[in-house]
């Protein structure tokens, strides 16, 4: 557990994680390009990962690290499927603007 600097307290990691998560949320909300939105989601996931490993280090519990592996795995799968969908959407509609992809609207 020595690779994480013990001099940096847990709070800082958590703060960084919260800032990254909020940036991810913000990007998800305000960006129009579908790929950017997608990257914002990845940012949120990794913010969560950061807090997981921080807690795992703090409590000397391996569960948090296992969760990180799960999240990374799901994120990889999501990236594969999500990018495929994005390519399909771009081919059929010729745009990636999220405001134009609104076929489900009533």
């Amino acid at each position: 557990m020595s690779f994480l600097n013990q001099d940096v307290p847990l709070t800082w990691y958590l703060l960084l994680s919260a800032v990254l998560f909020s940036l991810g949320v913000l990007g998800f909300l305000i960006k129009r390009n579908l790929i950017t939105v997608f990257m914002s989601i990845e940012l949120m996931l990794n913010a969560v990962n950061l807090s997981f490993v921080a807690f795992a280090c703090q409590w000397h519990a391996v569960k948090g690290q296992i969760f990180v592996f799960f999240v990374m795995m799901v994120a990889a799968a999501e990236a594969a499927v999500g990018l495929a969908i994005i390519i399909a959407v771009f081919r059929s509609r010729g745009t990636l603007s999220i405001d134009r992809i609104n076929l489900m609207k009533l």
Partner: protein, 675 residues
């Protein structure tokens, strides 16, 4: 030790016939439909005959071929299906079939006459549409009727009771494309439902007061008190406290009156008789089987079956007698002026059923059953002969358009003559013996009984008049439709007429003494006369009855043969009564105005408009409106804009976090305060 009679076959064979013809009938060739339709009642009849043979054995006999010893079957013979039907707490109901003298006689009539009428139907219905449907319904009727007769408890009897009503409805409305037939079917069904309602209430009362529905158990509970003592000791309609486990006479009277309502509905007695004349819309063999010989006598059978209850309630018995006598006279007067041949016979059936109720009302149950049996013979014959006439005339039912048929239809004429003589009560035809027994039993019941006897005698006069009127108008005189070319019916129909004619002549020769002695274990002895009767009394009464019948014949002869112009004059002289009679005392109109019309108005305005349209419709409309409106508002939310969804998601998550935060702070605050 009883041998097995396989009674369950009696109802189930016709049921199998019903299923086969009902499901496959339209695809089977006609001869196969006929074979199935005829074989089912024949097989039932044979099972019944086997039961007769088994019970008539007087001593144990050794079977000549197999060497085993055959014992006579003892009454009552009970067959119970091993699995109970209903087992609920203390209530226990079985599928049990009971054969005693009463049900055996009734079964012989139902399956025997039923079988004959099935044969007749082959000729009569041969050219009609729905041949297989007709036979399947007729078999269904036999199934339910035999269940009714064999039932060992009230509930199973009720199943048969409802079932024959259903079969009756289906067969009255057999020509369903005719409006009048469909309406008549509905009328019969609805009026019967009113009676069935009374029957059902009676069953509930029995269940509540006796805790069982089995005939034998109820009889056993009641047999601890002697009915005659009860009448003498309990003038105030109460029972002495020593037998407090039994229901009081008041309760018994209520039960009996409820049962009477049921019987009056099924047996077309006042005031529920109105369905029977309309039931003549059905095919004529149906009228003969269901609406003359068997189903309509179910009420009489039910009263005889439950006679132990009625014996305990003098008031109910008196009501039965009065209803019967009133119906007998009432229907006979209407029968005088009807012009439709089948309607004359329908009113005559109602009138004769009145006789049977009269006999039940004076506790002479075996006399009632005796009349039931002879009536089944001669009334079935009358209907079938009338059917033969209608068949010959191509559907003509109006007496005024007949006449002079006796040369053209000799077999029909002579068999009809036997039936007319039988119903008029002329010695030595069957009707004489049974009617005479009823009148005698009424006469020896003291002054009230003599009043009933007098009503019965007047009815006998009227019966004789209208039956000979029918006879003269249909068969004698000159043909009133010269262009008609009547032809005698096919042999299968005439054969049935001849058998029934023989039964109408000989059916009464067994005599009431032997008949009631045979029935006594099931229906009780004939009650002793109120005052000691002189030995000549019975002969004198018989002679009076025959003289009255001959008088009726004479009147009819005078009015319809010798001086036909006299009839028109009579009508002109008495316009009021004639109009009253031809309109059947306006009973249908009165019921229409008093019951049917208010019901329709309530249904249409209160139930239809207020309840259905305003209340139910309003609530449904309100609910739909609220759902629509909230949907219209909430659908704004579903903008389809992905970022707005994400914003709501984020806002929701923020709200949850905020809530948790505040909650934790409050919690901390509370802990701080407690410290």
């Amino acid at each position: 030790m009883n041998s097995n009679l396989n009674l369950w076959l009696v109802p189930l064979l016709p049921f199998a016939g019903f299923l086969l013809n009902g499901i496959l009938g339209s695809r089977l060739p006609k001869w196969l439909v006929t074979v199935i339709g005829i074989l089912a009642p024949l097989a039932s009849f044979l099972v019944v005959l086997n039961a007769v043979a088994a019970t008539m054995l007087f001593a144990a006999k050794t079977c000549p071929t197999c060497g085993s010893v055959v014992h006579p079957v003892e009454f009552p013979y009970v067959e119970t299906f091993s699995h109970p039907w209903i087992s609920l707490g203390s209530l226990h109901v079985d599928f049990s079939l009971v054969l005693d003298q009463l049900s055996l006689v009734m079964l012989l009539v139902v399956t025997g006459v039923g079988f004959l009428i099935h044969i007749y139907s082959v000729g009569y219905m041969g050219h009609e549409e729905g041949y297989a449907r007709y036979f399947s319904f007729l078999n269904l009727f036999l199934f339910f009727m035999t269940v009714l007769v064999l039932a060992g408890n009230f509930l199973l009897m009720f199943v048969g009771w409802e079932g024959v009503g259903l079969a009756s409805y289906l067969l009255i409305g057999f020509f369903f494309s005719k409006d009048s037939a469909a309406a008549a079917g509905k009328k019969a069904f609805i009026v019967n439902r009113i009676g069935d309602f009374g029957f059902l209430i009676g069953i509930f009362l029995l269940l509540g007061n006796f805790g069982t529905l089995t005939f034998t158990e109820i009889a056993a509970k009641l047999s601890t008190t002697n009915p005659i003592n009860l009448v003498v000791l309990n003038g105030a309609l109460s029972i002495n406290p020593g037998t407090s486990s039994l229901p009081t006479v008041g309760v018994l009277t209520a039960i009996c009156l409820c049962l009477l309502v049921g019987a009056a509905g099924k047996s077309a007695q006042l005031p529920l008789y109105i369905w029977l004349p309309d039931a003549m819309e059905g095919p004529t063999p149906v009228s003969a089987l269901i609406h003359a010989a068997t189903m309509v006598t179910a009420g009489v059978y039910m009263i005889a079956r439950t006679h132990v209850l009625f014996d305990h309630s003098p008031a109910a018995l008196a009501t039965v007698a009065v209803v019967g006598a009133a119906t007998a006279l009432f229907a006979a007067t209407i029968g005088l002026v009807q012009n439709d041949i089948k309607r004359v016979l329908a009113y005559s059936t109602i009138s004769q059923l009145g006789y049977m109720f009269l006999a039940c009302g004076v506790a002479a149950y075996s006399a009632a059953i005796f009349h039931l049996v002879t009536h089944a013979f001669f009334k079935a014959l009358l209907f079938l002969a009338a059917g033969s006439v209608i068949h010959a005339l191509g559907g003509e039912q109006d007496l005024r358009k007949m006449g002079g048929l006796w040369r053209k239809l000799p077999v029909t004429f002579w068999t009809m003559t036997a039936a007319v003589l039988a119903i008029a009560g002329i010695f030595p035809f069957a009707g004489f013996f049974s009617k005479d027994a009823i009148l005698y039993q009424a006469f020896i019941r003291g002054p009230e009984g003599q009043a009933l006897w007098f009503v019965g005698l007047v009815t006998a006069l009227l019966t004789s008049i209208y039956m000979f009127r029918l006879w003269y108008l249909a068969f004698l005189g000159k043909s009133r439709t010269p262009d008609a070319h009547p032809h005698e019916s096919p042999k299968s129909m005439l054969f049935v007429l001849l058998i029934l004619a023989a039964l109408s002549i000989c059916g009464g020769w067994i005599g009431i003494e032997r008949f009631s002695a045979y029935l006594a274990p099931a229906t009780g002895q004939l009650p002793a006369p109120a005052a000691p009767a002189s030995p000549q009394l019975e002969s004198i009464l018989s002679i009076v009855a025959v003289v009255v019948a001959l008088l009726g014949w004479f009147v009819a002869d005078l009015l319809y043969r010798r001086k036909p112009e006299q009839t028109a004059k009579l009508v002109a002289d008495l316009p009021g009564p004639y109009k009253l009679l031809t309109n059947k005392y306006y009973v249908d109109e009165i019921y229409g105005a008093v019951i049917v019309k208010p019901l329709f108005l309530i249904s249409k305005y209160i139930l239809g408009w207020v309840v259905d349209v305003a209340l139910l419709g309003g609530v449904a409309w309100l609910l739909a409106g609220v759902a629509n409106l909230s949907g219209a508002i909430l659908q704004r939310w579903q903008s389809g804009n992905l970022r707005s969804y994400a914003a709501w998601l984020a806002a929701g998550a923020a709200a949850v976090l905020l809530f948790l935060l505040l909650h934790t702070m409050n919690f901390d605050f509370a802990i701080a305060v407690r410290h």
